[in-house]
Amino acid sequence: MADRELSPALQFEHASVAYGRTPVVEAVHGDVHPGEAVALIGPNGAGKSTLIKAVLGLVPVVGGRITVLGRTPAQARREVAYVPQADTLDPEFPVSAGQVVLMGRYRRIGWVRRPRREDRQVAAEALRAVGLADRAGDRFGLLSGGQRQRVLLARAIAQQPRLLLLDEPFNGVDAVSQDALLTALHGLRAGGAAVVVSTHDLALAHLTCDEVCLLNRHQFAFGPTEQALTPELLRAAYGGQALVTDEAVVAR
């Protein structure tokens, strides 16, 4: 699926990112090419969310470099979509699923103007891509957790991004919604978008991504899933908190 001929969509060069003076994540080094998916894996507090914010240009890079679509993170924002965890949003907020998806079009629509027919079409297609075509009129907060997560992915799809960043998208998501999310992500990658997924679910990392960036404050591995998710590396990154069995690796 990956097209190695193209220049990377996302490039880490010995990057360190920091809030204030203390680096949160150090020495991240690796490329994500168009159509590729990389899982950011590490325990809670490993710095996965911070690294995602750095790719969005919201947390400063204090060492090395992060290049997004050949530009600095802040310059590339319009072509980068971010999918937050659905449960961080207020379920009482009075917006419909369709309105949430349209938010992905706001930058293209611009100030003052209202959504055009084209924007509404793209939003409707995005909802269809996550299997919620008939739920546009439903209030966002009344949908299930998994459906809300799908709506947020649809918002990102409506943005028509070249790089997609997802923060723990599978947390508390039922099987149906998980399937829908995986299908939609597959579609995005087929369309040439690069995908970065932070997760602590190693099985899902295997399922969704061909590469892994194993993190805990600094990088332990960045490469093909089989090479990065070895018992030794996982034990090192999780500090002995990972349970390694014959069949699977379970992180606690």
Partner: protein, 299 residues
């Protein structure tokens, strides 16, 4: 009877002017309170109502009643900026910083006004307003502020919605969240400026919160929310004025008109609360019945 209650009072010129002012403020408050409720700006709004107060006093001292709006405007913009910048200090929490700003500014106003011989009368007018004495110029001022606020919301309305719903996504999309917050604070401050003369700096908080809070009890749809909020705002102004007129003319009870308008708003809130609770209870009963039917079918 309805004629005497709802039409007759407003045939008097001063009551007609008061009604025009109240309806304008109802539209303004109805729209802006949606922003306040969605952004959870109630406390910030409360702070703004107090920080505008010294501006009102200074404007009055410098240029008489004509200066009030300009003094209020100056302090409204100043406090909108301060309220946006202030909470960024990590060591002082936002509510503490707001409380300091609120009381500090408010005290400046009280100190200034206390030096005048007509201290109590002036203070009462600034704090609680005198809607029955608004003149044509003040109505025009309110209309201009309303037009400006509606124009601003037309320009950045959807961006403010995004910022209120998902600030992380707004930042990720490249919006300057701080700037959007400043716009929201300025809009709230402008409502205080517009309402100073009619309801005073203290009671305006009702106008900034009650309409959308009442509407929120009745609907989860944004467009309906705005419409109901405007309806509550204007209806509150209308009913409040009619009630204070009735009380004073037919029952010899002199009710402060501004406060009566606020009481009418609160009464509408209570109505919305009861209606909302009944509807939810009805919805639950229907759902229970459906479930019972399904269970019966299965059995």
């Amino acid at each position: 009877m309805p004629y005497r209650l709802f039409v007759e009072p407003f045939q008097l010129p001063f009551m007609a002017r008061a009604l025009a002012e109240a309806l304008l403020l109802g539209v303004l408050g109805g729209v802006v309170s949606v922003t306040v409720v969605l952004r959870r700006l109630a406390f910030v709004s409360d702070a703004l109502t107090h920080t505008v107060f010294p501006g009102v006093v200074i404007g009055y001292l410098v240029a008489g009643t004509g200066g009030i709006v300009w003094g209020a405007l100056g302090f409204a913009l100043l406090s909108a900026v301060l309220l946006t910048v202030l909470p960024s200090n990590r060591r002082v929490t936002e509510d503490a910083a707001l409380a300091i700003l609120l009381t500090g500014f408010f005290s400046v106003g009280v100190v200034l006004v206390s030096r005048r011989s007509s201290y109590t009368a002036d203070l009462t007018a600034f704090l609680f307003g005198r809607i029955l004495t608004v003149d044509r110029r003040e109505i025009v001022e309110t209309a201009v502020v309303t037009a400006v606020v509606l124009a601003v919301l037309a320009v950045v309305g959807k961006e403010l919605l995004l910022r209120a719903f998902d600030p992380g996504a707004a930042a990720a999309l490249g919006y300057r969240v701080r700037l959007l917050d400043l716009v929201a604070n300025v809009v709230v401050a402008l409502v205080v400026v517009a309402a100073v003369k009619a309801v005073g700096t203290v009671l305006v908080i009702a106008l900034l919160i009650v309409p959308a809070a009442a509407a929120r009890l009745l609907t989860g749809r944004l467009a309906v929310l705005v419409a109901v909020s405007v309806l509550v705002g204007t209806l509150g102004g209308y009913l409040g004025l009619a009630a204070s007129y009735q009380a004073s003319v037919y029952y010899g009870l002199r009710l402060a008109s501004g406060a009566t308008v606020v009481l009418a708003l609160v009464a509408l809130y209570v109505v919305a609360f009861v209606v909302g609770a009944l509807r939810r209870a009805g919805g639950r009963r229907r759902a229970d019945r459906r479930e019972a039917d399904l269970v019966a079918e299965a059995a």
